[in-house]
Amino acid sequence: MADLTNEFVAKIREAAANKSPLIIEGSGSKRWYGNAVESQQTLSTTGHTGILDYDPAELVLTARAGTTIADLEKALAERGQMLPFEPPRYAIGSTLGGVIAAGLSGPARPYAGGVRDFVLGLHMIDGKGDVLKFGGQVMKNVAGYDVSRLMVGSLGVLGLITQVSLKVLPIPPAQSTLCFELSEAAAIHQVNAWSAKPLPITGSVWSQGILSVRLAGARAAVASAEDQLGGTKLPPEMAAKLWGDLQDQTHPFFDKAQGTAGGRQLWRLSLPAIAPAIDANVPGADMQLIEWGGAQRWLWSDAAPETIRKLARSMGGHAVQFNNQHAVGDVFDALPPGLLAIHQRLKNTFDPHGAFNPGRLYQGL
């Protein structure tokens, strides 16, 4: 437990004065996410740790950014609570700050909400070295613009997150996973049709012809949903492994050696849940894993980036080259000019000297 805020402020002021940008890093577990950055200097948050406030009756936990997700999950589990957005951990040391800055959420995303839905407030240091406090530790707060949520997924280009308050929730008393043999198109339709009913669905995945649906909630609700849906019930330990592997992307589908063979790369397509099955002629359509009731589709493909991006855009979503080691060009979809201008002005407001993560989100930011 140490408060390194003053140390960070000094480093940031120095970097801003010398115009020598810093790479903000927690454990480095997601170094491969976003565009590769050129600067050499790293500012590590790993020493800035500690849970500062946690009262289960408030459903709020406040911790320093370098605290590991593992430590947070342990403290929460002791009181029967959890992080509802199920952040991917990738490595044992994965930090709270990194999870917020990357903004990635796990299987529960469409049902419980994503990282952004659970951030109540945060402290950050901007590019001038000022410590700023936004939001708070309460559930409802509309005082001023929602800068806390703006920081979620910002990949550190606006400032260094030093402290975060999260809404947390009780661990549901019962959980169950049901499996169904279904084609891609049928699975997408089925899981959406079920989601329109009052069923306690909290996760779904389709891979290799099998749709798996996770139910969680009150015992009675899970039991009656099991009766309604049918299917084959997965033994609890296998179910726990399945959802854990999806959350952390340790599922065999994400195996790099296998996936990148033949010059393929991993694409994340973020689409409206009911977007149709991807055309079989699209390279990689046969190497797919579908989560989030159809709203997140993973694809190992050797198609030209523009082909995949056009496909995602035509369906109302967007596409990300998930690992920058194999990326061709920018990893994210380009922004329309109007939105890019807003991004640039926000960058100038929070980081006028370009002290943080240059280019990690977009060139020039």
């Binding site: 009262d55 289960p56 009756a57 408030e58 459903l59 995303r109 469409p110 839905d117 901007d126 406090k133 708070g136 309460v138 559930m139 409802k140 707060n141 509309v142 005082a143 001023g144 613009y145 929602d146 800068v147 949520r149 703006l150 979620v152 997924g153 910002s154 661990i171 959406n192 049709a193 989601s195 329109a196 009913k197 009052p198 069923l199 909630g217 009150a218 015992r219 009675a220 609700a221 009656s224 973020s270 409206p272 849940a273 009911i274 709203a295 997140q296 109302g316 979503g317 967007h318 994210f332 329309p336 109007g338 939105l339 807003i342 002005r345 926000l346 100038n348 407001t349 929070f350 977009y362």
Partner: protein, 486 residues
């Protein structure tokens, strides 16, 4: 008509049908305030565009003229966010009121900004779906205004606020450019500008289309009405329910003053001797609700509830809720005017704040009744006063500000769901330091560099805070020596 107004009206006439432009005093008067009627200003004109192209044209024109624009939804806001600016116009989205699409399979509705909140749920009902955020004004307030205010309601704890239920917003920037915040998917490339847009109180862009998430309507809902003979016990009961791992669909509290006022109005059978009444709702399947109601009742009994009643029918559930939902009109019935506050505090501080408010009632010589969203600590003290008495209004204002400052001191915020608008702009000086306020100005300028969209709201200038600070110190030295005590 003044020359400036004349030039502006002439120019606006070229882009709007004559029925969609108001400029004569008798026509613009209804727009001089929103739900916060104590603050009024007449605008130069009111534009009522029917489509996005007209919104673009109006904004482009005002941008050229350098005329400020105040966007307005249904005008039900409680913080003066839609109060006009004297040298500006009001842009009302009320005429853009079409539900463009309801897709039951993807559980989404595409809406024009003027669609009423309740109309969304009504239209979704045939599919067994509804739109979750339910502010008390839902019969009248519009989705565009909900986006501007990040509106909540009584079911936020379980179902979230507007920010958790809106997928995409289409809007027009002050220079007339159309932008889309978010995609039709669950996230978008780049920074989460959608999150900033929601709750931005009409200061960043004018909303022209909203894509919202619909959720399945739970087949069953039942509510527990629990009485407590002590406010602290009631406050602790709220914490005990949550600590037991229960997330009620609604968890609301009323103090004795509120209970008595509403009982006279709705005759719901509330326990008039109770110091506090707690309404605790469970929704879901029959089995789920039965299980939850049992667990909730046990916790409430353990926490010292002296009377517990569970609604036995949908009609009875509505009766139990009727008092809570009618707290504002009930206040209006027993007092010529009331001033509704909206601070949020950590749940553990509820009893502390209520005892502080009790003490303030004596000091300001005004009564206050308390209704609140206990589950998320969002307090709505209703200060009762007579607006025809100037002194009473000033005392009510000071009383309100002191409550909000107490909320900040207890680790909370000056507004949970009503917005800052013009009403709470001074207390923003207490909640935020100069550097955060500067960052807010920076965010504003990133979307609206000319600072013409609803300017001078929400973020106080350094000068204003200095003024407020001076008043503050003065008050600290001489606490209300001039106030009559009774």
């Amino acid at each position: 008509m003044r020359a400036k107004q004349q030039r502006l009206v002439e120019a606006l006439s070229s882009v709007l049908p004559s029925t969609n432009l108001l400029w004569q005093k008798e026509d613009t008067a209804p727009y001089e305030c929103d739900g916060l009627a104590a603050y009024r200003t007449l605008p130069l004109a009111v534009a009522l565009p029917e489509n996005e192209a007209q919104v673009q044209a109006v904004l482009k024109l005002c941008n050229e003229f350098g005329v400020p624009v105040v966007p307005r939804g249904a005008g039900t806001g409680l913080s003066g966010g839609a109060m006009p600016i004297q040298e500006g116009i009001v842009l009302s989205t009320a005429k853009m009121n079409q539900i463009l699409d309801i897709d039951p399979l993807s559980r989404r509705a595409t809406l024009q900004p003027g669609v009423r909140n309740l109309a969304i749920s009504d239209a979704a009902a045939p599919y067994g779906l509804y739109y979750a955020p339910d502010p008390s004004s839902q019969i009248a307030c519009s989705i565009g205004g909900n986006v501007a205010e990040n509106s909540g309601g009584v079911h936020c704890l379980k179902y979230g606020l507007t920010v958790n239920n809106v997928i995409q917003v289409r809007a027009v920037l002050m220079d007339g450019e159309v932008v889309e915040f978010g995609t039709e998917a669950l996230d978008a490339p780049g920074l989460d500008l959608l999150a900033v847009m929601i709750g931005s109180e009409g200061m960043l862009a004018v909303v022209t289309e909203v894509l919202v998430r619909l959720v399945p309507k739970p087949p069953v809902a039942r509510v527990i009405m629990a009485s407590f003979d002590d406010m602290t016990k009631a406050g602790n009961a709220v914490a005990d329910v949550i600590a037991a791992g229960l997330i009620p669909a609604g968890l609301e509290m009323m103090d004795k003053a509120a209970t008595r006022a509403v009982e006279e109005f709705v005759h719901a059978g509330y326990d008039l001797d109770a110091e506090a009444i707690l309404l605790c709702e469970s929704d879901g399947t029959e089995e789920e609700v039965t299980e939850e109601i049992e667990r909730m009742s046990a916790v409430l009994r353990q926490s010292g509830a002296i009377r517990i009643q569970v609604s036995q029918s949908e009609a009875e559930r509505m009766v139990f809720w009727s008092g809570r939902k009618n707290a504002f009109p009930a206040a209006g019935r027993i007092s010529p005017d009331y001033y509704c506050m909206d601070g949020t505090i950590p749940k553990k501080a509820i009893a502390t704040l209520l005892s502080q408010i009790k003490e303030m009632e004596d000091r300001y010589g005004l009564r206050c009744m308390n209704v609140f969203h206990a589950g998320d600590g969002n307090m709505h003290p209703l200060i009762l006063f007579d607006g025809s008495d100037e002194d009473q209004w000033h005392r009510a204002e000071d009383f309100g500000n002191e409550i909000l400052e107490a909320c900040v001191a207890l680790g909370g915020t000056v507004t949970g769901e009503h917005g800052v608008g013009i009403e709470k702009i001074n207390t923003m000086c207490v909640q935020f330091e100069e550097k955060e306020r500067d960052a807010f100005f920076g965010v504003k300028a990133a979307f609206d560099p000319a600072k013409l969209l609803n300017p001078d709201k929400v973020i106080p200038t350094l000068h204003r805070c200095a003024e407020y600070g001076r008043m503050h110190v003065h008050r600290g030295q001489l606490p209300h020596a001039d106030l009559p005590r009774f």
